[in-house]
């Protein structure tokens, strides 16, 4: 089945779209978590369970939004492409690889688009859960979470760099600068 799905992805060049959505929405998720945690950091001390609930709520909202928006838009695009192809070959393509791709690829793209911010959010929230589990951390749970967010954004940038053939360090530093600017704005507005 995996081989079939990979074939459908290659048929529609959907792997490039999925990669783009993974990075874009992963970035959204990571930056949202950074904004939230910076907001908590700049306010009076907040209990860790409250931070976890707020971050989880935002992550779930981003996931549902990503799933729904990507599925609806990709389905429309694939159906349009299938219809144009059917006109070109003068035949019905519903029961062909192209028909299957038009049905399955939007689902797969939606899963990537929806779950990439969730994955980033859960990764960034790890120090909060470790703290709740009683594991001691080098800094406070919130500070460790903020550091994890910065690291995640750097890694996303580095990944983008390797994909585009740029030097991973500059690409990673670029997204790190964006993260620092975001954190700075949140701190400024929070005071």
């Amino acid at each position: 089945m995996f081989r079939q799905l990979r074939f459908l992805f290659q048929l529609t060049h959907a792997h490039t779209i999925a990669r783009r959505y993974f990075v874009t929405n992963g970035f959204d998720g990571a930056l949202t978590m950074l904004g939230l945690t910076m907001g908590f950091y700049s306010s009076d001390s907040v209990a860790t369970p409250v931070i976890i609930s707020a971050c989880l709520g935002a992550a779930i909202a981003l996931t549902v939004s990503g799933l729904a928006s990507a599925y609806v838009s990709e389905l429309a695009e694939r159906k349009k492409e299938l219809k144009e192809l059917e006109q070109a070959v003068v035949g019905d393509l519903e029961n062909t690889a192209h028909g299957r791709a038009a049905r399955w690829v939007p689902i797969l793209i939606a899963v990537v688009n929806g779950f990439s911010p969730l994955l980033m959010a859960l990764l960034i929230m790890t120090p909060l859960w470790l703290s709740e589990a009683g594991i001691s951390l080098p800094l406070t749970a919130l500070e460790c979470t903020i550091v994890t967010a910065f690291l995640s954004l750097f890694m996303l940038g580095a990944l983008l760099g390797t994909v585009s053939g740029q030097f991973w360090l500059w690409s990673g530093l670029r997204t790190l600068i964006i993260a620092l600017i975001t954190a700075g704005i949140v701190l400024l507005l929070g005071r």
Partner: protein, 90 residues
């Protein structure tokens, strides 16, 4: 009973899968078949190809199903080579 040894088809296919993947899928699904795909015309969404298949015994209907399953359509059979199986002696 006759065996199809060689068949040349005029096939209209979408750009994807490309000719290499197209031939590969046919060959993978039908072991023992040699597949040659020659692209003769290209337009915006489709390409016209000449598909040549050779084997000791070509499973023609299965190959038609594979080709149509890849979104292509067979316009004509341009060439065919068939041989009869030797009759067992009485």
């Amino acid at each position: 009973m006759s065996l199809i040894k060689r068949v040349v088809l005029d096939v209209l296919k979408p750009h994807q899968p490309n000719a290499l993947e197209f031939a590969g899928v046919i060959a993978d699904r039908h072991s023992g078949c040699r597949v040659k795909v020659m692209v003769t015309e290209v337009d915006e969404k489709t390409e016209t190809t000449v598909v040549t298949i050779e084997s000791n015994d070509i499973p023609y209907q299965a190959i038609v199903d594979t080709i149509t399953g890849l979104g292509a359509s067979i316009h004509s059979i341009d060439e065919v080579e068939v041989s009869s199986t030797p009759q067992p002696e009485a």
